[in-house]
């Protein structure tokens, strides 16, 4: 298992989002998954998404796998809102102190606004979408379970799903192509590296939601409808 991580250090994020602790010792991937109560198929699918461009997940997932997926997504939300976005924001603030060009102040504002948009989106998923999905699972196990959100459906979530990667791209272009440099070379590089790290993870995050979570929840919904 450890060699998989050594080959692509970004997979450290994958481990964290799954709640898997290092050191991994000499354990195989299957052993690590068993120790952490994770379906190996899900782990492999996600790892493949991290490792390959255009990987199309194939494994048929069971309804209860949704629980693992939701936990994974919740953990990555925590990484976004408590770690990487605040880190980027503070790097921009430091840059702003060194580089007194007025544009840098605009960048700080740009990113601040963007961060609040992202937080809003994550909040929506944490407070509306995920609880709804967990209730669906509850309903499968116990048909009499009274759903709190009866009007909601996964289609609505799909519509709400906007492109949060766009502004990251904008910022990368501004930093590389346009923003005047002044004493900020090291910080700028750090900032760019964090932006790429975030983008890498976000990209996989949205693939998990679009290619795996949403279709699977759609299946659960129609399964429950049939039962009615």
């Amino acid at each position: 298992m450890s060699d998989v991580i050594i080959n692509n250090p970004y997979l450290m994020l994958l481990l964290e989002h799954f709640g898997i602790d290092v050191p991994l010792q000499e354990k195989t991937m299957h052993e690590v998954c068993c120790d952490n109560n994770i379906n190996t198929e899900i782990f492999l699918t996600f790892a493949n998404l991290y490792n390959r461009n255009n990987y199309v997940p194939k494994a048929p997932f069971s309804f209860t796998d949704v629980l693992t997926i939701v936990t994974y997504l919740k953990n990555s939300h925590k990484y976004y809102s408590e770690e990487i976005y605040p880190n980027i924001l503070s790097t921009i603030k430091q840059m702003n102190e060194l580089n007194t060009h007025k544009e840098m102040a605009l960048v700080e504002k740009f990113f601040g606004t963007y961060f609040s948009e992202v937080k809003e989106h994550l909040d929506y998923e944490n407070k509306t979408v995920f609880p709804y999905i967990l209730e669906l699972i509850e309903k499968i196990e116990n048909p009499d379970y009274p759903m709190r959100q009866t009007n909601f459906s996964v289609d609505e979530y799909q519509e709400h799903h906007n492109d949060i990667e766009e502004k990251l791209d904008d910022l990368k272009n501004l930093l590389i192509k346009y923003l005047p440099q002044k004493n900020d070379q090291i910080l700028r590089r750090k900032l760019l590296f964090s932006l790429f790290e975030l983008e890498y993870d976000l990209n996989i995050h949205s693939q998990i939601e679009d290619l795996i979570l949403i279709p699977l929840v759609g299946k659960i919904e129609s399964h429950l409808k049939k039962k009615k």
Partner: protein
């Protein structure tokens, strides 16, 4: 960019082109969608394409061709294709061509690219600057169209070109670009 599903063919062709000393970056596309995505993302001068990519995508191919007029297309032919399909490309490379022939075809296609190695392609036109300025004041596409007496579609096309050239899509990002380029001053910005 080389659009080719076979790794042997791709690696071989890329190797030949690099060997000619061409100062270029070669990327690879596996599907027609990938070609569309990368064209939209970064500037590409030349696409060497296996005609099978186009066979079932003739319509989107024409759209792409019209959208990126300066882009050259070279067919990479190692199977039988109808002449009408092959005539869509600017030139062709055959699987049996020698390295010299291939590099000549590639060189010729690149030489004819107008504005080659110039930054002019990424610089906004006067009209695009007009639109960018209005955008930063917070006007919507429709309002800009009315103000300049042009159609909303034209505004949208200009906006696409602006984003394509700068790599920036959001209005707030473009505003920072406009300030850096001194197209607007901070005082012009409405809070």
């Amino acid at each position: 960019m080389i659009a080719e599903t076979s790794s042997i063919v791709y690696e071989g062709l890329a190797g030949i082109i690099y060997k000619t000393g061409a100062k270029t970056l070669i990327s690879r596309a596996h599907t027609f969608e990938e070609i569309q995505q990368s064209c939209a993302k970064r500037r590409c001068e030349l696409i060497i394409i296996n005609p099978s990519f186009v066979q079932n995508n003739v319509k989107p191919f024409h759209t792409l061709k019209n959208q990126f007029e300066n882009l050259k297309w070279i067919g990479l032919v190692y199977a039988y294709y109808d002449q009408s399909l092959l005539s869509l490309f600017d030139a062709a490379i055959n699987i049996s061509d020698s390295s010299e022939m291939i590099s000549a075809v590639v060189q010729k296609a690149l030489d004819h690219t107008p504005l080659k190695h110039s930054h002019a392609e990424d610089v906004l036109s006067d009209r695009e600057i007009d639109i960018l300025k209005l955008l930063t004041t917070g006007l919507a596409n429709k309002e800009i169209a009315d103000k300049l007496n042009i159609s909303v579609n034209t505004v949208i096309t200009h906006r696409k070109n602006i984003s394509h050239k700068t790599g920036i899509k959001s209005v707030s990002g473009l505003t920072i670009y406009a300030v850096v380029k001194k197209l607007i001053t901070l005082e012009n910005l409405t809070e």
